[in-house]
């Protein structure tokens, strides 16, 4: 196999060499990776209320949102959403939420952990929200399973208002700043609205393989440090 690698690089080099020698190519690439080039930020996220912009965009792609002031209100907001839509009051929540000291109403049965596909409702916490397109950023980890974002039919995401940024690039900054090690998490999910398809006669249908509905509860507070 190492032959194939050597061959492919040998095929690439003559055309590249004509413009810039290898050492200079390597130096330029290393510099760009060390200091990413910044593009312009769209005007739609400048001088606006980021939380409201985020909500507007999320609604446009079929997500619903609610906004509460304190962590204490969060459990009630989740239960309300499920009751109003006649959905099961049984949920699997991401283990990181167990550290947030939340109080779930007695009517709502919440267990913490991963899922194998038999949970009707999944509750997860977003690392960040991106206002430019109403996009949630979630990441895998020891306390945040990825399957919970895809297997349950109803996906509820808790998003702290202070983590809503304007642009994709700002979301990367936020993630880079909060990394625990040198690596990105195994999976970073940007989620914008529910699962959808137009593969049958261009008709838009929601809920193909992933969640049929996504509800975002924005909390103005940050969780208390565990």
């Amino acid at each position: 196999m190492s032959d194939a690698r050597a061959d492919i690089f040998a095929r690439l080099r003559p055309a590249l060499e004509a413009a810039k020698p290898l050492a200079a190519r390597r130096a330029a690439a290393a510099a760009r990776v060390a200091l990413p080039l910044r593009s312009l930020a769209p005007a739609r996220v400048q001088n606006v209320d980021l939380v409201e912009t985020f909500r507007t965009r999320a609604h446009e792609v079929g997500a619903t949102t609610a906004r509460v002031t304190t962590m204490a209100e969060l459990g009630g907001a989740v239960a309300d959403y499920l009751r109003e839509r006649n959905l099961p009051q049984t949920a699997k929540a991401s283990p990181e939420l167990a550290d947030w000291n939340l109080s779930w109403p007695a009517t709502l049965a919440v267990a913490h952990g991963g899922t194998v596909g038999d949970d009707p409702v999944g509750i997860a916490a977003a690392r960040a929200g991106i206002a430019e397109t109403g996009t949630l950023m979630l990441a895998s980890g020891a306390k945040s399973p990825t399957k919970l974002n895809f297997l349950p039919e109803t996906h509820i995401v808790v998003l702290c208002a202070g983590r809503i940024v304007g642009t994709y690039e700002q979301a990367w900054d936020y993630l880079r700043k909060n990394l625990e090690g040198p690596l990105l998490p195994r999976t970073v999910n940007w989620i914008t609205g529910p699962s959808r398809t137009a593969d049958i006669e261009q008709t838009l249908l929601v809920g193909v393989h992933g969640p049929k509905r996504i509800h975002i509860v924005i909390v103005d507070e940050e969780p208390a440090a565990p």
């Binding site: 492919i8 690439a29 080039l37 769209p42 195994r186 999910n189 529910p194 049958i200």
Partner: protein, 467 residues
């Protein structure tokens, strides 16, 4: 080498008479074209992002080997493996070897055009591994044993009734008399069937919209969430990507993502954009234990620095297909290549050889719509003309066309003769439109094309009269 089968004129002729296909194409043109237009209107900076996207791709290609080295090092640092493959056969063997060594019998697949390019499914089936396409469109064409007709909407040519027929034939454990008239019934059935496949697959495979050198990350963009289930539930995640897919940084990927979905489906961004780096970490609650990236050349390296270099910027958005009047009239299958439309007519001759794909550069009216909508500003018409030159130089053009051009060249170099000949021709053709076919040298060209009746005067005569 990639495989192309085409007699474009015959296939196009057949497509034009296919009513069901024509209805499907009309829906597609309407949906994608108006979708893109409104998405672009909502983002005033769209053209600035196109310039930035183009610059990112150009910069990456100019430093391609260096970025591939960085990407590879970062995949390894994250615990993943990189496999370099010169051609489709090597990529197929590599994937099969990974699967066999893990005893994998089924593989859940996210949509991958490179997988189609190397005809992976047939190879896996022949070697005892069952591939399950999980993108709804790919699943439909897998059941129908067809190739995709569009790079982002593979089943766009299939009607709802045909989907129902395919499901009835394949899902034999369900009651035969169930109703499948509605699209959401079809969707529910596919969801239930494929959910089982995800949960039981031994391995998962995805393509990659981008590879990020900075972090050793592969990126997939989907609306259904099928790619996520394919790569998260099974133990092994295999990524299959062309070597040109790399970009420098997460920030660069952000810029490309801003133009990708808007150009493709008219969405601002797809429902799911997923960034995968290495296998699951020791303490992670889920995710695959192994991460392999299969890097395919298959003719791409030869494009670098050639007349078709700019084609390597392509981000496979499909906008050039959606806006192409020829694609819109005949659909994807007529091209006989997994990459149809303008991008395919440039790329397929490069990957399959111009001799095999010699019709494709002519399957265009060179109207320029493709270049106008391409998010990375690829000069597709210019490259189609370049392929026409190549095929003429290599003697791949039919004798009739060659003779026609020779006669025209002879006359065009002698202005008086040219004017006399065209004046006589215009007069005659005003009366006898069918005689167009008798014009010396034009018969080859007109065998597959039509002409309006002549006005009776030449262009030169009209020009003089109007001045």
């Amino acid at each position: 080498m990639m495989h192309v089968t085409t007699d474009f004129p015959a296939a196009a002729h057949e497509a034009l008479g296919d009513k069901s296909l024509q209805a499907a194409l009309a829906r597609m043109r309407q949906g994608f074209v108006s979708g893109r237009a409104s998405a672009v209107a909502r983002l005033p900076e769209f053209d600035a992002y196109r310039d930035a996207a183009r610059a990112i791709r150009d910069h990456t290609l100019a430093h391609l080997d260096a970025y591939l080295e960085i990407f590879e090092a970062n995949v390894k640092a994250a615990g993943g493996q990189v496999h370099w493959c010169r051609d489709g056969a090597e990529a197929r063997e590599t994937i099969l070897r990974i699967l066999q060594s893990r005893g994998a019998k089924t593989i859940a697949k996210g949509k991958s055009m490179v997988g189609e390019e190397i005809e992976l499914n047939a190879y896996l089936e022949a070697n005892g591994v069952r591939p399950v396409e999980t993108d709804l469109g790919e699943y439909i064409i897998q059941l129908r044993r067809e190739t995709p007709s569009h790079i982002i909407a593979p089943a766009t040519h299939v009607s709802k009734a045909q989907v129902a027929d395919a499901f009835r034939a394949a899902h034999t454990l369900l009651p035969a008399d169930r109703s499948l008239a509605e699209a959401d019934t079809l969707l529910a059935e596919a969801r239930a069937i494929l959910r089982e496949e995800f949960l039981n697959a031994d391995a998962g495979m995805t393509g990659a919209n981008f590879l990020i050198a900075e972090t050793g990350t592969s990126v997939i963009v989907t609306n259904e969430g099928n790619g996520d289930l394919s790569q998260t539930v099974p133990r092994t995640h295999i990524v299959l990507a062309g070597i040109e897919k790399v970009v420098p940084t997460l920030d660069d990927a952000a810029v490309l993502l801003r133009v990708l979905a808007r150009s493709a489906t008219g969405q601002e961004i797809s429902s799911y954009t997923t960034f995968s780096t290495g296998p699951a970490r020791k303490d992670d609650l889920d995710g695959p234990g192994e991460y392999h990236v299969v890097m395919l050349d298959n003719g791409r390296s030869a494009l670098l620095g050639s007349a078709f270099h700019d084609m390597l910027r392509c981000i496979r958005c499909g906008a050039c297909l959606n806006h192409c009047p020829v694609y819109g009239a005949v659909g994807g299958h007529a091209y006989g290549s997994v990459y149809p439309g303008p991008m395919g007519s440039v790329l397929s001759p490069a990957l399959a050889g111009i001799a095999a794909a010699k019709h494709l550069p002519h399957a265009s009216s060179l109207c320029g719509a493709c270049e106008q909508v391409c998010p990375v500003r690829i000069p597709l018409p210019k490259m189609l003309r370049a392929w026409r030159d190549v095929s003429f130089d290599r003697g791949l053009v039919t004798l009739r066309s060659r003779l026609g051009l020779a006669v025209w060249t002879f006359a065009a170099r002698r202005p008086a003769l040219y004017r006399l000949a065209t004046a006589l021709t215009a007069k005659t053709l005003q009366k006898h439109r069918a005689w167009f076919r008798l014009v010396p040298g034009l018969s080859g060209w007109l065998a597959t094309r039509d002409f309006p009746a002549s006005s009776g005067r030449t262009f030169m005569a009209e020009w003089k009269a109007r001045r």
